[in-house]
Assembly symmetry: C2
Homo-oligomer: 97 residues x 2
Amino acid sequence: MFRHVVLLKWTEDATEEQRAEVARRLGGLPDVIPELRSYQIGPDAGVNQGNFSFGVVADFDSPEDYVVYRDHPAHRAVIDECITPILAARAAVQYVL
Amino acid sequence: MFRHVVLLKWTEDATEEQRAEVARRLGGLPDVIPELRSYQIGPDAGVNQGNFSFGVVADFDSPEDYVVYRDHPAHRAVIDECITPILAARAAVQYVL
């Protein structure tokens, strides 16, 4: 298995509606990108100070399937329309499970 | 379930030995911290430019169990002895699964 992890930090002026829309739109991706074997996303729980705002952990059969997801038009649309407008910082890693 | 995700970026002068030691030491934590239900770690696979260096995804039964891990002396020892000396950047999120 091949795992993609990305953590996103929202801008201070990001609204609750904008944050919720990211979760809603990303949550629809497994229905249109069958390469996604597991997709677990969620907003930071607020346990620690200084955290990023939102986490995505996505598992694939192979690096090639991850690239299909990365470049899929439905995914790029969520990035362009919902994520980029409120993005303050981003950190990502892909690793072999 | 409650998930802890942390992404770490190493300094440019971090040696291969130092990077491997982080993975080796973290990999021993499930043996001494039974609250860890799942612990999947690994170095970035190099698919994308600009990534962080290392990923950790840890699952717990509860936020309280995550805090046990966070503050456990064996975990703090790995942070102090292996991670902090080569740490350039860190991003973390905890979220409910």
